[in-house]
Structure formats: C-alpha cells, structure tokens
C-alpha cells in the first residue's frame, strides 16, 4: 500500500504505541523518533530510498529534535536529567558500563559497514530537461532559440486549410519515423522503447510539451542525441539528428503535429 513496506511500518507504530502507553520520558521519545525515522526511511519503502536522500532526511530530523529538546529550560532539563542520573547514580553503573561499550562498538560497526559496501560504478545525476543553446544552425539557417516559433503555427487561425496540410505532412513524418520509439499514442512506448534506457519522451506528459517553446522541440528533433549539451552528460539518448534525414519544413510539420495531437500549445516567449 502506497509503496510502503507494511511490516516495518506496523512494528515501528507498535513500538510507538507501547511508549505512549508506558508514558515514556522525553529522552526516550527523542531517541525513538530518530531511530524509528531512520528505520522507516531505510526499510519502510518497498522501493528503497537512495542513501543521499536518507542522509538529508535524517539530518533534518536530528536538527529538529535538538531544537525541540533545547527549546525551553524545562524541556532541556527533562531531556538531560535521565542522562545525568545514568552517569551519577550507582544503581545504573551496569547500564552505564554497557553503554560505554555499546557506543564505541556501534561506531566501529558503522565504520565496518561503511567499508564493506560492494564496489560499483558511480551513478549519474539526471537533469530534467537539457538546456538548449542560445542559437543553432539547421540546414545553413541560424535559429535563435529565444525567439524562434513554428513558422506554420499562425496558419491555425490565418489559413486553417494550409494548417491542415502541414499537419497532415507532420502526421506522415511522425508515423514514418518517430512512432517506432515514441509510440502510436505518443506515450513514449513504441515498439523499440523497451530496448532503450532512458525510455523515449512521453509527449502526453503534462510536464513536457506545454512547458517548452516549439524552438526547444525543433532543437531536439534537428540535433537529437549528438546535439545534447556537454553539461549533464552522459545523456544516453538514442534520438537521431533528424536534420540529416528530413527537410526543415518536415521537422516543423512534425513539431506542429505532436503539439496538435496532444492538444497542447507551445509555450510562448515571455509566458510564465
């Protein structure tokens, strides 16, 4: 359920319930909260959370708990008193000795565990969208990425018939060249998609076409994987540079078609 590892969640909740029932003191609650959240982030999800995110979460948790414990004189005293008693009172000497052994042992185990991770190649941070260049040259024509728009888009209002022709041409180009990877319905699930990593772009996604200017899509079509920027590499993209196979008009037509097919408008310059 919700991608959680339910047995872990239930055990942690049960321990919390027992602590509430036993009216545990502040220090116990603080220790429980940190350990329980560590266990939850580490083992509570069916798909494990990356260690980098676990570290961020536990850092925030630790900081918040320190703030809570010291946010008033009374609460600080409540938190510290059990520790003082443990150190000073003779009846806790055995427990203190155990703690003095356990803490270095825990630190040693942590070092041991950290040094015993299997060696593997480093992962790569993925960027959401590759940043386009400020301008590019397609078929000897310079395209200003900031201002370029699909030259046939205005036909939608000015000349619907001509717009339909360009759209039809875009449809032909798409189903001759693109649907193999991007799919019949443009969901990024074409017949070759399963063999590609990362998978081809899903044009149905609300977070892709509508937030991009048509010049961005034109750049991706024309330049493909070889035109991806140096920053954020490796992209591992299989997208061909279609300027080598299609005319400029065909590329703008297919650009028009994928927007029209999905019912999106390209983002305009100056639009938030």
């Amino acid at each position: 359920m919700l991608g959680l590892n339910l047995p872990v969640v239930i055990v942690l909740a049960a321990i919390g319930g027992v602590l509430a029932w036993r009216r545990a003191n502040t220090l116990t609650w603080l220790l429980y909260t940190w350990v329980a959240l560590w266990a939850f982030f580490k083992y509570g999800f069916a798909v494990p959370i990356p260690q980098s995110v676990v570290t961020i979460y536990l850092g925030i948790t630790g900081l918040a708990l320190v703030c809570f414990a010291s946010s008033s004189r009374e609460r600080l005293s409540e938190t510290v008193q059990p520790i003082v008693r443990l150190i000073l009172e003779p009846r806790y000497r055995l427990a203190l000795a155990g703690l003095l052994v356990a803490l270095p042992a825990l630190a040693a185990y942590n070092v041991y565990a950290d040094l015993n991770v299997p060696l593997e190649a480093p992962g790569f941070g993925r960027e959401v969208h590759p940043p386009p260049p400020t301008e590019m040259t397609v078929h000897d024509e310079t395209v200003d990425m900031a201002t370029a728009e699909n030259p046939y888009l205005h036909y939608k209002h000015d000349d619907p018939e001509l717009y339909g022709e360009h759209l039809e041409n875009g449809r032909r180009v798409y189903y001759e060249n693109c649907f193999w990877c991007h799919g019949d319905g443009m969901g990024g699930d074409g017949m070759f998609a399963h063999g590609l990593n990362p998978v081809p772009s899903n044009f149905n996604d609300v977070g892709t076409l509508p937030i991009l200017q048509s010049s961005f899509v034109h750049w991706r079509i024309a330049k493909g994987a070889p035109g991806l920027p140096g920053a954020g590499t490796p992209w591992d993209s299989m997208m061909p540079a279609w300027e080598k196979f299609l005319t400029t008009e065909e590329m703008w037509d297919v650009n028009l078609f994928i927007y029209d097919f999905n019912g999106y408008e390209p983002r305009a310059l100056g639009q938030h």
Binding site: L2, G3, F45, V47, P48, I49, P50, Q51, S52, V53, I56, Y57, I60, L63, A64, C67, F68, S70, S71, S72, R73, E74, L76, P118, E120, A121, P122, G123, F124, G125, R126, E127, V128, H129, P130, P131, P132, P133, T134, E135, M145, A146, T147, P198, V206, G207, P210, L212, Q213, S215, F216, A231, G232, Y264, R267, A268, L269, G270, Q271, H272
Partner: protein, 643 residues
Amino acid sequence: MTRNRILFGIGVLAFVSVIVTVRLGGFLVDNEYRQPDRQVAAQEELGEAELTPRQQGIADEQAADEAEARARPYEEAEYRTVPFVGSRVTVWVLAQLHLLFAAFVLAVPLFAFIIEFVGYVKKEERYNKLAYEFTKLLSVSFSMTATFGAFLTFALIILYPKFTNYLMHIFSPTFLPYVLLFFLEALFLYSYYYGWGKFGPKMHLFLGFMLNVVGTAIMFIANAWLTFMMSPGKRDDIDGDGVPDFVSAVSESGALLSLRDAFFNFTWMPINIHRIIANVAFGGSIAAAYAAFRYLQAKTDEERAHFDWMGYVGNFVAIIAFLPLPFAGYYLAAEIYAFSQTLGIQMMGGTFSWLFVLQAALIGNLFLGANYYLWLGMGRMEGGVHFQKFIKWLLIAIALCFAVWATPRYAISSVSEIAAMGGSSHPQLSYLGQMSAKNTAVNILILSTYMSFLLYRRTGRQSIHPYRQLLTRAQAIVFSSAAALVIFYGVYGYFVDSATRIRFAIPQVYSVLAALVVITVIDLPLYRNAAQSGETKWGRIPAVSQYALIFIALSFTWLMGLMGYVRSGLRQEWHVYGVILDTSPDAYTPNLGFATQVVSVTVLIFFGLIGVVFWLSSLSGKKDYAPGAAGEGGGRLEGGQAA
C-alpha cells in the same frame, strides 16, 4: 633531549649554510674576470667604463629588452589574469563582498529609520536609542562598501578591460548620477549618524528618509548594469498579437540601440524588488548577530537585557522581510524563465538546479532557526508554559515542509539504487520533488513561522477584549482555511497540466498573504492593553538563542552568496547574454563543488571583516582611556559614550 639537539643542529647548520652561501657569492663576484690594467687605462682615456663580462651581459640584456619594448606596438588587452585563483574568482569574491556590505549598508538605515519613527510616534526613548545602536554599525560598513566597490572596479578594469569598456559604452550616462548619489549618500549617512540628538526629531527623520531614498536609487542604477548582462532588452508586445516580444536594447554586434531599454530591462524590476526585501532580511540578521555578539560579551544584566532586546528586534525585522522573500524570488525566477527558456531550464532543470537543493537546506535551516529563537524567547515571559505544548506540532510541520523542500526530483544515487528504483527518480518521493510540493511546503513554512510569532506575542498576556473568544476563533478559521487552500492547490496541481499548475502558485501566495494580514489586523485590537500575567524579562534567555541568531545571519549570508552565483553563473560563457561572449580562459562554468567552496570562503572572509566592524562599533561603548588612573600604564575612566 636528543630530538632537541638534532633540531638545534639543523638550525645551526642552516645558519652556517646561509653565511657560507653569502660569503661564497661575494667571493665569486670579487674574483670574477677583470680586464688587464693597460686595457682599462686605455678605456678610461677613451671615456669608456670598466665592465666585467657579467656586467656587460646584464647591460646587453637590458638594452635588448628596452629595444624590444620600444619596437612592440601598443595593443589593447582583452583580458589579464591573476595567478593561482584566476580572474573570474577574483572578481567573483570582490563583487560578492561588495554586495554583502552594500546590502547591509542599504538595509540598516531602512529599519533604523522605521524604529526611530516608531519611537517618535510612541514617544519612547528606548526606540530612539535602539535605532542609534543600529546606526553605529553603518559608519565602518559604509567605508568597507566603498573600499570593496573601488577594489571591484579596479579589478574589472585590470582583468576585463575590453568588457568593462563595453559596459561603459552602454552605461556611461549613468555613471555620473551614480557618483553624485554616492556623495549624497555619504552626506545623508554621516549627518544622520553624527547628527543624532543634534537636530530636531522631524529634521533627523527627514535625513534618515533621504538616506534611504538615495541608497535605494544607487542600488537601482547598479542593478541595471548587472541585469543588462543577463537580459539585454525589454519585453513588449510590439506586433499587437497579445504575445510579448523581446525588444533588444543592443544590436547583434552589441552597439547600443536604446539606453532606456538597456536600463529598464527585463529582469531589472524583479531584481530590485528581490534585493530590497532580501537586503532588509539580511541586514536585520546581521544586526541581530551583532546584538548576539554583544550579549555574549555582556557583563551586567542591564547590558544583557539591552542586547537581548536589540537581537530580538533585529531578528524580527529579518523574519518579517524573510516571509515574503520566497514570493519575490519566485517572481524573479519566473521572469528569468519568461525571458529565456534556455536560462530557465538551465536554472530549474539543468545543472544549476542542484544548487536549489542546497538553497532548500539553507532556507529550511533559516525557518527552523527563526522558530527556535521565538520558542526560546517564550522563556523571557513568566507564565509562558501554556503555549509550549504547541511547539511539538509546529516543529513537526516545519520539519515535514523542510524535508519536502529538500527532496530532489532526481536523487543522487548509486547504480544499484537506480536499478532498484527503475530510473533516477523514486516512485513515491519524486512527487515531492515537483513544484506543487515545493510551493505548498514553503507556504506552510511561512504560516507555521507566523503561528510561532503569534504564540510568542501572546505568551504571558491575556486579552481583555470583550469579543476575544470570537476573534480568536476567527483567527483560527482564517489560518486553517489558508492552510487548507494551500494544501488543496498543492495536491490538485498533480492532476492538471503544467501551465495551470504554475498558475496555482498565485492563489497559494495570496491566500497566505491574506491570512497574515487578516490575522494581524484581528490581533492588534485583540491584544491591545492586554493583561500581563507576568513580566517580560529581557536578558533572561538561554545563551544558545544568541548562537541561533548568529546561525541565522550565517545562513542568510551563505544563501545570498549561493543564489547570487546562480543568477550570475546562469549566463555561462556570456558576458552579456546572447551578445558579448566571454573568450577568456576563465569562461568555463566551474563545477558545483568548486562554486560552493568559493561561496563558503567568501562568507568566511565577510564574517571575518564584519567581526572587525562589530569590534570597532563596540569600542564606542567602552570606557575612555586615562593615563595614570590605574596601574603604571594608565587606566580607564567611567563615562565612555554608551548610547
């Protein structure tokens, strides 16, 4: 013992080696080849100087160098370099230090003026004294700002002469007004500071007002220079199709077409707004850090009480300005995105987006630190236990929002983690990496912080308003409704297209702002003349609270450095985006780790210098030196100025 002897032996050996080397050198020079006496006599007759072969060699080399220098034609240098650190880092650090001091110098008069005005209206002398205490920090900081400004200007002229010349080509008409305003600022600042108590209150307030007007005008001019580098033009719907078009202020070659468009460029006003608010937040936090520094040094309860109050006011100013800051930042980012999708994608989805995870961590720390300070402040009031039970829930809300904001869309993962997730994003947590979640988190953080402030304000006070129950419930309803609306739009944002989702940020912001205004408007009469259940004991606050204030100031400074780098670094290889390319060896974009190191070192340098400012400012409160008053070296007299 043996070790000492070895060390002593090495020392003696080193000393003897130096002596021997010097003597040997002298011996060789004294015994170098000289011409026979007869030849020397013949040369003297001819009026020629006696030169040994070594001297002759040196003279020949000098002559050759001189001849080469004379033959070399004059060339304009495009770039010069700085050894070890490079030109880019030199200018970067100097610009950042100049900006940090400038921000402080612009911010302090703003709230010193407001505090003085409050004191004038309320007829309370303590506000006047507090405003003066803040103003004492200005004098040295102003000199620091000017020094770093000059340093930066020289560095630009020396290291980037061609580009600096280009900026002069565009903005030369703005330089003279800038310098004149700077003169005026010095005039108003020093008359405001030294004229404290020397003028009538209205005249003094006028000086403070003019200081702020002039300071803000200076910043607006400087903002035009830097925003032009990012967005050299304005947005206007020139073809009347309802879609804004970009109107460049310069030609393709960079020649100026319109100074007006270059000045009032695309990102000028967003950055003006962002900087004014951020300056106040930053200035308040630095002033609070100064108070914390003095609090920790204080020897008497009276001093502790004074600096505790000063720290509280400084932090209050910082937090009040900090609450709308995310909105101003969002506006600036949205305008950058609207100006250029390349810059926008680079910033929010590309390489620079990783720095926003650090930004989230710093802002989360700021919120946590600000709330923590307020909770600790409840300890000043007797009868403050009542509201302690809410702290737990506020803390949970803040920690949750902090975690949401710090969750990256694509986590840094190892290969096995990526394989387990089936991609770079986690199936559940990636939802928290999207804008809907981030906007919701920051709005709830703002509401929670405001709630902490309300609880602090009520601690030890009991409303005597006849409709207190009704009004308190009304506040609770407004607060809950705003929170519910923010969460509703946050969740709904996942089910709509991105254009609609982006627009959801607006009702979220307005609902929070409206809630803050309405709750404040209700709270003012509700707690006017409230019954005090206990006395407020300024100075009775744990010392850790003062470290929290310093921590907040440090986080603000770091944040400014980091985000300043993002804004400036976004241009990448461009001096002026899309117009003038940076062709220097430093044109590359440094990796994120290096960038954060430069920012961190700059922050450390700034805090070293601000420590000097604090020390110098605290000197005026010390007792005067009086020779012979105590001991043989002199002593100190009572009666030093303690404003």
